[in-house]
């Protein structure tokens, strides 16, 4: 699935486009907990979140994520937009809730990370 497909499926608005819209997105994930993002984030993943503070972008950047979707039509503050432009991260906003945004992408064939036992990961 490409970023362009994601925009279409979610009826998304591009807030910051930092890369190739035809770039392949291997999987998706959703969290409002940034530590979770750091724990399960993988390269190239699309992240769905309800938070819009600049830390979301910095967290995504550290985890190698380059597309972030804000759910429920949230518009991020200018600091978040700036951080995204600096780090080369694409920001999209959709009117769907977190549940439905994820559901639509999953239904369209975008996989997640499968069964993740985070506690075991730390052993």
């Amino acid at each position: 699935m490409t970023i362009r497909d994601i925009i279409e499926i979610l009826g998304g608005r591009v807030l910051v486009n930092s890369g190739d819209l035809d770039g392949e997105v291997p999987r998706g994930g959703a969290a409002d907990l940034m530590s979770d993002v750091l724990a399960f984030g993988t390269d190239g993943m699309v992240l769905m979140t309800g938070l819009t503070n600049p830390q979301v972008v910095r967290t995504a950047d550290m985890a190698g994520i380059n597309v972030v979707v804000f759910v429920r039509d949230k518009t991020p503050p200018p600091e978040t937009v700036e951080a995204a432009q600096e780090s080369g991260i694409t920001l999209i906003s959709t009117g769907y809730t977190m549940y439905e945004a994820c559901g639509r992408l999953y239904q369209a064939g975008l996989p997640g990370r499968g069964w993740v036992k985070i506690e075991e990961d730390f052993s």
């Binding site: 486009n17 190739d20 409002d32 530590s35 390269d43 985890a63």
Partner: protein, 320 residues
Amino acid sequence: MGDHDISKVEELLYTMKVEDVMAGDTIVVDPELSMAEVKQLMDTKQITGVPVVRGDRMVGIVSISDVIGALEKGQLLRPVKEHMTTDVKSVTRDTSVIELIKNLGRRGFGRLPVLNGEGKVIGIVTTGTLLRSLLTQMEMSYQKKEQEKLQRYRASHIFEDISSDDTSVVLRYIVDDRDFTNAGKASTMIKKSLQRLGAQPPLVRRVAVAVYEAEMNLVIHTDVGGEILVTIRRDRLQVSTVDHGPGIENLDQVLQPGYSTAPEWIRQMGFGAGMGLANIKRCSDVMRLMSEPGAGTRLDILFLFGPGGLSGAAGLPKKS
């Protein structure tokens, strides 16, 4: 033009707004001006169309074809208001460029005035202003890329260019406590520096996640801030965070995944879930946490990657 250039144009069309591509300081005319005067104005200013404005409001637009029309009918001395086009499509400052293109160039709309909320003309867009802005943007993005390439090339040769028995590069960052707006900036800089030094992407990611968690700990849990020291050698890298904050009472407890003392406002921002140290441990090869109540805290994180870890740069001379 290569495929890459095409997608860059497309990207710009999606993200740029009318305000990025319009010409400001627009010349406007009064509806009572004669068509002859308009013709004169177009000649001297080298333009082909002008918004017609009464008071502060736009009432129409007069173009070179209106001038020709007036000329054919021998009405060059008649006022603009009799020859102007009144059915004018306009755009606003934050109209997207992709939307603009749908209207620009369509039957007769060779130029579109840009109006503010009160109907006042604040600029004008033509295919010319649009093309010029796109070219400038592409030139800027190209230069940025070239600049990054150059910086990466220079940095990636440090370990070859400097002679010593053991070269290390030390980066130092100051982190303020409770400064949430800037939290994560040190980590962002460290990530970029590692990329420039030629570190392989999986290594960059491991270090970035660990150092970011450690930076957030300084922001959230110390009342004085602290510093991050990154010592990079050819085959290993150590991150140390040092603070003179309150210290930690029970070291075993803070290492338990899920244990957290973070206040509510931190949790609302998506942090403080008690996974930080566990995450750091998972990403690194060795982690050491030293602390005593009242004496501050030091966290050492070690990454071992062997001599090949920093050889991501192209054309790097191999040591025999």
